[in-house]
Amino acid sequence: MKQSLFKKPAVQTLLSSLICIVAGLLVGFIILTIINPSGSGQAITTIILNFITRSSGPAKLKAFGNTLAKTAPLLMCALSVCFCYKVGLFNIGAAGQYEAGACAALFMAISVGAPWYVCLLAAAAAGAVLGAISGFLKAYRNVNEVISGIMLNWITLYLTNMVLSNPAIKDPASPYTKPLSSANAKGMLPTMGLDALFANNRYVTVAVPLAVIIAILIWMILEKTRFGYELRATGFNKEASRYAGMKEKRNIIVTLAMGGALAAVGAAFLFLSGYQQWSTTQTSVPGMGFNGIAATFLGGLSPIGTIFSSFFIQSITDGGALINRSLYPAEISDLISAVIIYLCGFVLFFKTVMNGWIAKNEEKKALKAKGGNA
């Protein structure tokens, strides 16, 4: 019975992810120890436990809320990458679609003064357009979606900076956009009473449950609907799916447009919560989209798995900010996440090794049984 448990793909995926996490944390611990051996144990514990290390109950809840508020956008980016990957498309453009979402949401919220749901829809539309461009180029012009995604990431970054630098949107005294609470309170995501659960943390909004619901929806679309089956078939074998009468070109465009909408809504979830303002002078593509790639692979390429992996990655990132800054740099968390995603590349190898062990064990047992009979 025990063997059959380890043979299950889901169990193998979980084990592989755990191996990646443990190895990543180990690398982080070793580096912390090299920098300063005296505090490394405490530092790695802080990174892992994050908000649990806060002193009082309300402080814990508040920090927990902050982590959740940032997990929602990360989860959306991960879902974007995950959804496209299931269809055989590597959506590295999630980062750019995220920028487009921030651009559209903040433009609608601050410049137009629209309510939050209009801002969300605008973000989704902007991301979908950007994704569809990649999809069109892939389907009709044979341009690899990774390359077009990378180009669009940078084009959108500069475009977003330009749009949001508009004096109606940008704070005159800083490079950031105007704080939403004063510019347009209607544009802020409603908390639906969730703030009260987290020691009045205003940043815990409807975005958190929405992101989880969307994750479950994406899982249902992929696994339980004909549409999802068609998409996965397209990803598995483009020629075969065309032969079976599926419109593979349309499927590619629709997939990337949906992926784009997901990542863009993620950005709206962050910027419409008021947690953060967009810096119009940033010169590098925000890391959220790339962290989404990390969460996707750590989550075993499953929409449900990404819920947990997104939370984990966000939690160690926040935990990194809590360590003793006079001893260690906070970027140690980014380093750990990067090591984890690097190791995710070896998942296929881990699984091969696991299956090898199982096969060997079974062979031994079969031999033993044979010997017993003889």
Partner: protein
């Protein structure tokens, strides 16, 4: 005007070096999306050496040792791609992305720790090389050149020669086009792909140090290399994986980058009122448009991105 030409040449040599690196890797069959990360690590190696060498070091020694450090760090870092993509058949896009994330984080952590070890109050991620920088600069008339530009031109010639005129280069390209066929005539595909990846590490690392020496005398490692690795990928594609065309593409893209830095100095351009972001966007827009029109019969190596499996035919 002088400034524009100067910046164009600096940026073009960076882009050309890194794109040539990508070109070697892709011709061997491995997509190297981690060029951005390799540049960061190469820059880190070079900057550390400059920081550690005593102030009175001979200029020639300084240039050579710094270049070697950048190349060495780049090669070492590219091993991460080699091990994962060649030995373990990992997804090359995923590994490249991880390498980019890792490089910036690792460089920031390392430099902060390095600074803190020297002075506990300094936990910044900035390395300075103000006096050391002078060793690299050559002034001819009003122009300020950099020894690495000469090196870049030499390396361009060598790259072209290696790829098209040597047995090694032709074999390398065979591994990116049809590894099974290459294997069947006795070429060691794994070794060729390793060579491609390590060469891209060397050139990418060198590109990194040239970039951070351009116009500034300290570098904040938190910011990475601001997308130059990705721009170099665009240069490589625009140059259709051919060294000579890559050189021209690098000049064009370098020119746009330079324009975005200095366009305010030209009354004619400043009057147009085009914000610098437009110039920054241009290289990416151009490559995207070109890609849309040329990818139907793409010159990309046919087998790039596909892990080599002896059993496949």
């Amino acid at each position: 005007m002088v400034l524009l030409i100067q910046y164009t040449i600096i940026f073009a040599s960076v882009l050309m070096l890194v794109a040539l690196g990508g070109c070697f890797s892709e011709h061997s069959g491995i997509i190297n999306l981690g060029l951005e990360g390799i540049m960061v690590i190469g820059a880190l190696g070079g900057a550390l050496i400059m920081n550690l060498l005593p102030a009175g070091t001979n200029g020639f020694v300084m240039v050579v040792v710094t270049a070697l450090a950048a190349v060495g760090f780049g090669i070492l870092y590219s091993c991460l791609l080699g091990v994962a993509a060649i030995q373990f058949k990992a997804d090359q896009t995923l590994i490249g992305t991880a390498m980019n994330m890792l490089a910036t984080a690792a460089a920031t952590v390392f430099v902060s720790a390095f600074n803190a070890a020297k002075n506990p109050d300094n936990t910044s991620s900035t390395l300075q090389y103000i006096s050391q920088k002078n060793a690299f600069i050559v002034r001819i008339g009003g122009f300020e050149f950099n020894w690495f530009m000469l090196l870049a031109v030499i390396l361009l010639g060598i790259s072209w020669f290696i790829l098209y005129k040597t047995r090694f280069g032709l074999r390398l390209m065979a591994c990116g086009e049809n590894p099974q066929a290459a294997d069947s005539v006795g070429i060691n595909v794994k070794r060729m792909r390793w060579s491609g990846v390590l060469i891209s590490g060397a050139l990418g690392g060198l590109g990194g140090i040239v970039y951070i020496l351009a116009g500034v005398s300290e570098w904040k490692f938190e910011v990475g290399v601001a997308g130059f690795g990705f721009l170099a990928l665009a240069v490589m594609i625009f140059g259709q994986w051919k060294p000579t065309k890559i050189a021209l593409a690098a000049l064009l893209f370098g020119f746009f980058r330079a324009l975005s830095n200095v366009y305010t100095g030209f009354p004619f351009l400043a009057n147009l009122g085009i914000p610098s972001t437009i110039y920054n966007m241009m290289p990416y827009i151009i490559s995207l448009v070109i890609l849309a029109f040329t990818s139907k019969n793409s010159k990309a190596p046919k087998a790039e991105g596909i892990p080599y499996d002896k059993g496949m035919r």
